[in-house]
Symmetry: C2
Amino acid sequence: MKISWKQYDLQLKHTFRISRGARNVVPVIILTLEHDGIIGYGEASPAKRYGESLETIDAFFRKTNLSQFDSPLQLEDILTNVDSIEAGNTSAKCAVDLALHDWIGKKLGVPLYQLWGLNPKKTAQCSFTIAIDTKEIVEQKVREAAEYPILKVKVGLDNDEEMITTIRRVTDKVLYVDANEGWKDKHLALERIKWLKDQNVEFVEQPMPAEQFDDLKWLRDKSDLPIIADESVLRLSEVPKLAEAFDGINIKLMKCTGVREAMRMINTARALNMKVMMGCMIESAVGISAGAHLSPLLDYADLDGNVLISNDPFDGVRNIKGALTLNDMPGLGVTLRQ
Amino acid sequence: MKISWKQYDLQLKHTFRISRGARNVVPVIILTLEHDGIIGYGEASPAKRYGESLETIDAFFRKTNLSQFDSPLQLEDILTNVDSIEAGNTSAKCAVDLALHDWIGKKLGVPLYQLWGLNPKKTAQCSFTIAIDTKEIVEQKVREAAEYPILKVKVGLDNDEEMITTIRRVTDKVLYVDANEGWKDKHLALERIKWLKDQNVEFVEQPMPAEQFDDLKWLRDKSDLPIIADESVLRLSEVPKLAEAFDGINIKLMKCTGVREAMRMINTARALNMKVMMGCMIESAVGISAGAHLSPLLDYADLDGNVLISNDPFDGVRNIKGALTLNDMPGLGVTLRQ
């Protein structure tokens, strides 16, 4: 097994602004795994918040030694080994996980949804993200998103009400709201949630900082809307504890080390009677397709990371009016555009 | 997809006695699924305690309509449908789950351990069960079990101490102890566990009745040995609650509806930091092989159900001195003996 990796700069169609900052270009790393004449693709989209960068990913791949294994089919042993190289590095680990799965699907001649026994007609309906911006730009973006039946709205700065009222003036679509830890006071958060309930919002994601766990418990107890964990959830071992403060979890492949652990998190959340959402970073069709293959197991999907970019280096799952549409090619079903 | 089924009477080498009764012959039903020129085998070994019998299994299969699906690869939809036919019927549902998995493995040309990315060299070391009997017979059985490095001892009647002392006179092997809900008083249970600890026992399974959940919590709190749930655990949704009273769970395919749900239970137990054991009913090589394919994910395995019988209709996983030894044939790797 040989791996190589390359940086791609994903260009955003619009400046992407959430409560923590703004970006125009997002660099990602595509991992290529070669074995037995078959190529598997993986992707790492690093997030500074979780201690990753292009440099940490490069360093991690240099420490990754897959030549000690005979085949990607030794998935459990390989991923256990990769996970033990160093703590963190979740997007780098995710790239390895995705490349192995892509390879296995190709080797066995089945798309991943079929390897997992899932129905591709049941991929989740995907929300389209509206980032924080001025009234004029938000209104324009909502109009541009006309074809998407569900919008996910970023809030958590000072203009929450303006964001929502602006959108509600234009459309009565289903709205998900993501505060990205933006509210620091539980009473303020509860007030906002009450108001959002009246605006016909479906749920609120991560209303308060992950560190304020007791406030989040208090809030969930009093909230009329389901509260979904995002920044609070990274990996499998955290899921049971989160059931005390959240109604569901938003799994991100780049934070949880890939589809194998994501599947385990979904199973655990189900046992805990929690809702399951899958989100994404800004990613190419490689990462987004991986989530789409899993999506028949989800309640909510926010897998629009590659819809927001103008130069996706890969073709894979298509987002057709919010419907994640998978092809029937083996593995992830992604091909590098020339 | 066509299914057919047939009864086989498994002959026990020794009368099998636990705290609830004794048996010499165990009838099971083998399910055969045919599709696209490939045959998949499944097995149902019904337990009266869980409301099943040969008749309920027959009735359940008559209500099972797989012709509405195109292929066993639609695993999630099929199993969701089968599960919804009627509550309970877990061993009948397990037979369908196993037959589908056997078929899928054969279709894709891989053993199940490989479909799941597991290492067949890491199958669990399997315990050998010593049932409750007279001193003389117990001693004889322990000598006959010389090749097995781990013994699982059934207790829970009046002769617990005699069982263990008899065994300890013959061997200092690792012992698992299974009380099968036999102790009704928590103080008595705690006393016995303390004594067992001194006899160098590894863990105790289901010391008290599942209904006495609060007593079990009390007991776990005070116990020096890990307590594993058996009769208390059936399916996925129960696992989180059990973490309050047990250190681990004993999953049985016949109780949890098969390997798909078993995998989900393993994932959930891991998230809850619980130990995972897999047990079995008296089963042919069909059921036991299914457990063996999963066993690299286990801490403890008690998959000796087909070692205890003299006329296994199938060849599959071999129990070689307690080591579950899988072949490299696709699917379950089982063949019908002529």
